[in-house]
């Protein structure tokens, strides 16, 4: 009987065919067993899954040379070619995929907001639901550490740097005039509506070699690749109105957005420290066109805005106040293409054109200036492997600035400059493992104006210290040509320079994030000039120097308390510099040692409402007191402001929104203006520099009309 069975068994197996058994064990590089890996011969059905001992074994009818594949989630797919008869007792080690959620991130100096990044500090929604931000993305970024509160200005001041040291890029292409002009006691806003952007990267130092002409910081904005649906957005606000529309086709889409702001009704109800002749009025329009090609994406972005106002402002030297009138037209166009060339190569190219025209009258002066600027860039990416990526490219900036000056004695003085810069950059991302990564690059810039070449190395490293935490280091050299207020009078200068040294610790756990970042920044070749305001008679030099050092803390928790999301930022800053008209090293008036910001949001389901607050504290700012010795020798009292907002969903598509800035009515002082000459009693009169209004009230109604009847503008408020 046994024999019979054996015969049948032999017969059966030979009848089925000569099969080969393929077997082995799968582990990771730390020799830990991998359970559930898919092991198979390419192009066949033959394969198996590893068991709880990491072992697999399967039979195949295939013969000769075959390709064995082993794949598992979060690991790189293993490939082995060979004769099937040798595929027994294999010991296969899978390497971790470095592109997974838990891999180390090169994050020193960088804050990201968006869906794609692994270390989101802000969500896109936050730009607009932060109480103090009033829908301005710059306002939301001011709640992050590393920024200082300069309430009357509204631009970004990063780590002891002035506002010119931060550059803004849209889809990788430079924006030359990112802010709307305003009076000197009301904060400006970013020109661009958050509505059209879905990714924001804010770097407070140590950024990539791709970006130059920024001493302190870059802000990268990306327009939406593909809108979700066709819709119309209508907004009616206490200060104006907005209208947006999106149309989609098979391969392309268009979004347009228009807004009109007029502060006349607001100024007639609430008292204002300015004496308005023509109210603040701005009209703007933006459009984005996107087209998908077979291997890439073309985006065209255009924005136009016009701002006018005329007023008389208080002035200590002028009893009747100082007359100021402004008329600004700004046109920005940006086109970019991103495409895949083959499996390993991709390309990005872009172009931007800015045309900005300002006409302003200050007292008896009449100034007209025109800026035409162009930026082009071409960048290649070579993905050599999952662990080694190479980027390189070239770019060219051209600026033509012309000014026309008139006053009681001078008529029609014309002057200006051309500031053209060519640059090349190369950078590599190297992942040694899931826990250790480097980014290293270099940037070369040639300034046609100064006939000088600069070489700026950049380096950063990140190391994962535990499952949830990592440390990063970054170093970089950064160059920037002086700004137009200097270059228009003198072009015999050098590029200004900074070096950044950054150490960062980050802890990231399930919607909780903690960051601490220490930095040291050294300034060289800063421009100095001899008069209070530069002009043709001033003497200029590059002898200015300075430093900034400090530590930034950030904590965000969206998890611990149900329906509550909050973040806290604290920045400690020590900085001194000698530049512009400074007679000695001093702490500039835009840099204060302590800045604290707390933002909280609470979603109340029963009320279909989100309520939020935002509190900012900033220690006193410096000013020069003529009664004391020295320059910038005194400090104002500290700055405090609490803002609250409330958004109520009338229906999923109709939102009522209200906010109050500085609800407690703190009497903030931004500085003091002293009289040029003493009064009859031999004293210098002074005037506190106060905001145009202490508080600001905002009410708006936002209505979205779309197919799905669900989307709304909550993310645009």
């Amino acid at each position: 009987m046994k024999n019979q069975l054996l015969i049948i068994f032999v017969l059966t197996s030979s009848w089925i065919g000569a099969q080969t058994v393929i077997s082995g064990t799968v582990t990771n590089t730390k020799n830990e067993l991998i359970i559930g890996a898919n092991v198979y011969l390419e192009g066949t059905y033959d394969g198996g899954t590893t068991d709880e001992n990491g072992q697999f074994s399967f039979k195949t009818d295939e013969t000769g040379s075959q390709i064995l594949l082993v794949s598992f989630l979060s690991y790189e797919t293993f490939t082995m070619a060979g004769d099937v008869t040798f595929m027994t007792d294999l010991k296969i080690k899978l390497r971790e995929d470095v592109n997974t959620l838990d891999a180390v991130v090169l994050s020193a100096g960088t804050f990201q907001a968006g869906d794609n990044s692994k270390v989101n500090v802000l969500k896109p929604l936050d730009v607009v639901t932060t109480a103090s931000a009033l829908g301005d993305f710059v306002g939301a970024l001011q709640t992050l550490p590393g920024t200082t509160t300069v309430a009357e200005d509204g631009r970004l001041f990063v780590r002891g740097g002035d506002a010119n040291e931060t550059q803004i890029f849209i889809d990788g292409i430079r924006v030359f005039t990112p802010y709307s002009p305003t009076t000197n006691n009301a904060p400006t806003r970013g020109r661009y509506s958050p509505f059209l952007f879905d990714g924001i990267t804010f770097s407070t130092g140590g950024y990539s070699a791709e970006f130059g002409q920024a001493l302190s910081s870059v802000l990268l904005l990306n327009t939406i690749d593909e809108p979700d649906q066709e819709k119309t957005d209508i907004g009616i606000m206490s200060v104006g109105a907005t209208l947006g529309n999106t149309q989609k086709w098979e391969k392309s889409s268009v979004s347009v957005n228009a807004s009109y702001i007029n502060l006349a009704p607001y100024n007639s109800i609430f008292t204002n420290r300015n004496d308005w002749i023509e109210p603040f009025e701005t009209a703007s329009g933006e459009a984005v066109f996107r087209k998908k090609t077979n291997t890439g994406l073309i985006k065209l972005y255009g924005a136009f805005d016009a701002t006018n106002f005329e007023l008389i402002q208080e002035d200590i030297n002028n009893e009747d106040g100082l007359y100021f009138k402004l008329n600004n037209n700004n046109l920005y166009f940006n086109g970019s293409y991103q495409g895949v060339l083959n499996d390993n190569w991709s390309v990005m190219g872009g172009f931007s054109y800015t045309h900005a025209k300002n006409k302003f009258n200050v007292g008896d002066l009449a100034i007209k200036d025109t800026e035409n600027s162009v930026h082009t860039k071409l960048k290649f990416k070579n993905r050599v492997s999952n662990r080694f990526k190479l980027y390189f490219g070239a770019e060219y900036f051209a600026t033509d600035f012309q000014e026309n000056f008139n006053d009681l004695t001078i008529t029609d003085a014309k002057y200006g400059y051309n500031n053209n810069i060519a640059a090349v950059f190369a950078e590599a991302d190297i992942f040694i493992s899931k826990s250790l990564a480097f980014k290293t690059g270099v940037r070369g810039e040639y300034s046609e104006l100064f006939k000088a070449f600069n070489l700026a190395p950049r380096f950063s490293l990140a190391y994962k210290t535990s499952e949830k935490s990592q440390i990063s280091l970054a170093y970089g050299n950064f160059y920037q040509n002086p700004s137009s207020n200097v270059l228009k009078f003198n072009q015999d200068l050098k590029s200004q320079n900074t070096s950044h040294y950054i150490f960062n610790y980050q802890y990231n756990q399930d919607r909780k994030i903690f960051r601490a970042e220490a930095y040291y920044k050294k300034y060289d070749n800063l421009v100095k000039f001899s008069d209070e305001f530069p002009d043709f008679n001033s003497t200029f030099s590059n002898d200015g120097t300075g430093y900034a050092m400090g530590i930034d803390f950030f904590w965000r928790d969206s998890k611990s308390i149900k329906n509550v999301d909050y973040w806290v930022s604290y920045s400690l800053l020590d900085t001194k510099r000698e530049y512009n008209n400074f007679p000695e090293k001093a702490q500039p008036n835009f840099a204060n040692p302590h800045n604290l910001s707390v933002v909280g949001k609470y979603w109340i389901n029963n009320w279909r409402s989100q309520v939020g607050f935002s509190y900012a504290y900033a220690s006193g700012r410096t000013y020069t007191n003529p009664y004391e010795e020295g320059f910038l020798n005194s400090k104002t009292k500290s700055f405090n402001s609490l803002s609250v907002n409330w958004s109520y969903l009338l229906s999923p598509q109709k939102i009522l929104y209200a906010s109050i800035n500085n609800v407690l009515g703190f009497k903030n002082v931004n500085g003091y203006q002293y009289a040029n000459s003493p009064n009859m009693n031999g004293n210098f009169d002074r005037r506190a520099l106060r905001p145009a209004t202490d508080q600001f009230f905002f009410v708006g109604f936002f209505w979205t009309i779309s197919e799905d009847k669900k989307s709304n503008q909550l993310d645009n408020l």
Binding site: T44, D228, K710, S711
Partner: protein, 206 residues
């Protein structure tokens, strides 16, 4: 007696081998699905690799990954699983464009993120989901899965906004009707969802 068994077995296996490899493989994968979804997903993936012009194995491999990610609390695991599913959906779409079944699966993938963290993903992914169902409906208005998945999604959103879900019960009733008349193209074409539709309908409006 033993001989007889052996002969019958041999005969039977001879009969089975008359089926194509594809049919055997798919059948095996469906059998595995209940007991060992990982194995099933792996097998579907192997078939997908061997059958370059058939969208079904990739579709099912994606579906196994998506279905098992509902209820997953570990974000890393969820993200890895859904990334895998997305790759498979991309493969399936490359083979069969404008396919309502694949669009529904894509919508379910987004829904898995929304289910994991509505506060973070709801606002950004909801419009995408709605757009997918709109497109699927235009392509295949009588596909029961399009109707039922869309209804279930709408009910979830209505609950989130504290609104009445009863208007969508009608859609479910329609889906049940469509299920009754639905004939898959081949035995391996998608034919799931009837039981769940009836289950939700039973509790509808209650």
């Amino acid at each position: 007696m033993k001989h007889l068994i052996i002969i019958v077995t041999l005969l039977f296996s001879g009969l089975v081998s008359a089926q194509s490899n594809y049919e055997k493989g798919m059948q095996k994968a469906f059998e595995l699905w209940g007991s060992n979804p990982i194995e099933a997903a792996n097998l579907f993936e192997r078939i997908a690799n061997a059958e370059n012009d058939n969208w079904l194995p990739a579709y099912y491999a994606a579906q196994v990954n998506i279905t098992s990610s509902f209820g997953e609390k570990d974000e890393q695991k969820l993200s890895a699983q859904l990334k895998k599913a997305q790759d498979l959906i991309n493969d399936a779409t490359a083979i069969s464009q404008d396919n309502a079944e694949i669009l529904v699966l894509q919508a379910l993938l987004h829904t898995a993120w929304v289910a994991y963290d509505g506060a973070t993903y709801g606002m950004t992914l909801s419009p995408k989901v709605v757009e997918l169902y709109t497109k699927a409906k235009a392509l295949a208005p009588d596909n029961p899965r399009v109707v039922y998945c869309n209804a279930e999604w709408n009910m979830g959103s209505a609950r989130f906004f504290g609104q009445d879900v009863t208007p969508y019960c009608k859609d479910l009733e329609k889906a049940v009707e469509l299920f009754a008349n639905f004939k898959p193209e081949t035995p391996f074409h998608p034919n799931w969802g009837k039981d769940r539709t009836i289950m939700i309908l039973e509790s509808c409006g209650k």
